[in-house]
């Protein structure tokens, strides 16, 4: 399903990674989780944002890996970093005070207010599926100036309300972040393999603001567990350029292996 059928030149996942990369601006400081976020951020760095600053929660600041890391703590991140700090320092001195422009997150479930679940499907004490847990995500969601969410658009994942709030988006509405003392703006966009959702400025509910080429609104609504509203200014994403596709496909994962063709197998966990 998805874009692949109508766009034989690229896959829906490629469109998603490229759309995510495009959302980053040169010179921004970006807190990167492994998988799709890392792919998107490293792609942006190779395309329009050579001065993008990548911070990984392993403590590698301003790292420029020549290949994609397989995990958040790969040696390749150290070798190319401006400096490496301890894990307490990366959270306390770099993330917490709001020094990071963009945090990239993913999750197993996302709800209409942009809250993310990477903990359990079902009840916490008797879960249907036990997920990896929080990692750095709750504080990334709280403290980055803005958050971008990247995840595949599937009905089981895009739910009315998450089973467990691992990372807060807008809580139950537009006032919650301020009441909770969260200082970042929260999720400003959700980039999926079908399109882009953004929070309504009034209600903070996620609405469809862009479709990837060849995707219909009904396709997106069918994969969304709430009554998804569509922006009156609905855009269509530009198709991947040859250069974007070539660059994305040319990025190799460290110690690579046929399985590494999909560097996003861990999207169920937001970060490690």
């Amino acid at each position: 399903m998805g874009a692949a059928a109508s766009s034989p030149d690229y896959t829906a996942d490629e469109m998603m990674s490229i759309a995510a990369a495009r959302s980053l601006r040169d010179g921004q400081v970006c807190f990167v989780g492994i998988g799709l976020p890392s792919t998107a951020a490293n792609l942006a760095r190779r395309l329009h944002a050579p001065g993008l600053v990548l911070v990984y929660e392993s403590g590698t600041l301003d790292t420029r890996p020549a290949e994609l890391p397989l995990s958040i703590g790969d040696g390749i991140l150290t070798d190319s970093a401006l400096t490496v700090v301890s894990v307490p320092e990366v959270f306390n001195y770099w993330l917490q005070p709001g020094r990071i422009d963009v945090g990239f997150l993913s999750g197993a479930q996302l709800d209409r207010f942009g809250n993310i679940n990477t903990t359990v499907i079902g009840e916490y004490t008797e879960p249907d599926v036990r997920l990896p847990g929080s990692g750095g995500a709750p504080e990334i969601a709280a403290s980055c100036r803005e958050v971008s969410i990247v995840m595949r658009h599937r009905l089981r994942a895009f739910v009315e309300q998450v089973d467990f709030v691992t990372s807060v988006g807008y809580g139950t509405g537009p006032l919650d972040r301020r009441m909770l003392g969260l200082r970042g703006a929260g999720p400003v966009r959700v980039i999926t393999d079908l399109g882009v959702l953004e929070p309504d400025p009034e209600t903070s509910e996620l609405v469809l603001t862009a479709l990837h080429p060849g995707i219909a609104v009904e396709q997106v609504r069918a994969e969304t567990g709430w009554d998804l509203e569509v922006s009156p200014d609905l855009m269509v994403t530009a198709a991947p350029s040859a250069r974007e596709l070539e660059t994305l496909r040319g990025m190799r994962t460290v110690g690579s292996h046929p399985d590494d063709r999909n560097p996003d197998r861990t999207t169920e966990g937001a970060t490690e």
Partner: protein
């Protein structure tokens, strides 16, 4: 002053049934050999503490060493789930496993508090999440100057912390570099500590970015070349990504896992 001992002696002396044990290393320098020795020596009822449980805790849990896990992200990095962990949580195999779950920021600060001799740490965290509902070591404090409410987490002070490092000198001073994670804090927070090292050298030549743990802050040092494999030791060997992938298959199946245990030298 740290004693220089063999790994088996160190584990026999420093890790006891029922202990709270932290084996740390953030992707890098994970003390696998020490974990395997704990499995071989058949420790039971451990409370295992670690930000990222990783394969090493999947193995310890599958081997029945643990009764509780304190953690913040439990997966096989870049690969998927920890199947032994899931089997213990979901089915109580081979033993029921209690969990205490935090975020990375919370866990890191719990070690910082432990290393600092404080009973708790303050952070901006957890607000609005469901974690505080299930984790009693998360609370709040009010700033006495501004009235703002912040998260508080209880200090972690493991009975024993085990980390792996690149080098130690003959006096037992330890040097590690690359991604240094929470190793310093985890060692300083612990009542006892063991550092396994790639090599013991005459002199610790300074290395950019290195963390040095003075001998008097470490209980024991054991020379265990390759002791972090299949994770990696910066400057010594790379991460064995294939082994991380292979673990997915081994760990999915109790029988395959039991075979792996047997190969480790454990009869069950």
């Amino acid at each position: 002053m740290a004693k220089i001992v063999s790994l088996s002696e160190a584990v026999a002396e420093l890790v006891h049934d029922g202990d709270t044990a932290a084996l740390e290393g953030f992707t890098h320098l994970i003390p696998f050999a020490a974990g395997h020795e704990i499995i071989r020596q058949g420790r039971r009822e451990l409370t295992l503490v670690r930000m990222t449980p990783d394969l090493i805790y999947d193995q310890l849990i599958g081997a029945g060493c643990a009764s509780k896990l304190v953690f913040s992200w439990g997966g096989n990095p870049g690969v998927g789930s920890l199947h032994r962990l899931r089997d213990a949580l979901g089915n109580g195999w081979p033993a029921p496993l209690e969990i205490e779950e935090h975020s990375h920021a919370g866990m890191a600060n719990r070690y910082v508090a432990g290393a600092s001799g404080l009973p708790f740490a303050v952070l901006r965290g957890y607000a609005g999440t469901d974690l505080p509902l299930h984790t009693p070591t998360i609370s709040t404090v009010t700033c006495p100057f501004t009235g703002e409410e912040l998260a508080a987490v209880a200090a972690l002070n493991p009975d024993v912390t085990i980390v792996h490092a690149q080098r130690a000198d003959r006096a037992g001073n330890v040097q590690l570099w690359g991604i240094t994670g929470v190793q310093k804090e985890a060692v300083l927070a612990a009542k006892r500590s063991l550092v396994t090292v790639e090599e013991i050298v005459d002199e610790l030549t300074p290395v950019p970015g290195a963390v040095v743990l003075p001998s008097w802050a470490v209980t024991a040092v054991a020379e265990v070349p390759g002791g972090a494999a299949p994770s990696y030791a910066h400057g010594y060997y790379d991460r064995d990504n294939a082994a991380y992938r292979a673990w997915d298959t081994i760990s999915r199946d109790r029988q395959a896992f039991t075979g792996w245990l047997r190969e480790l030298g454990v009869q069950r």
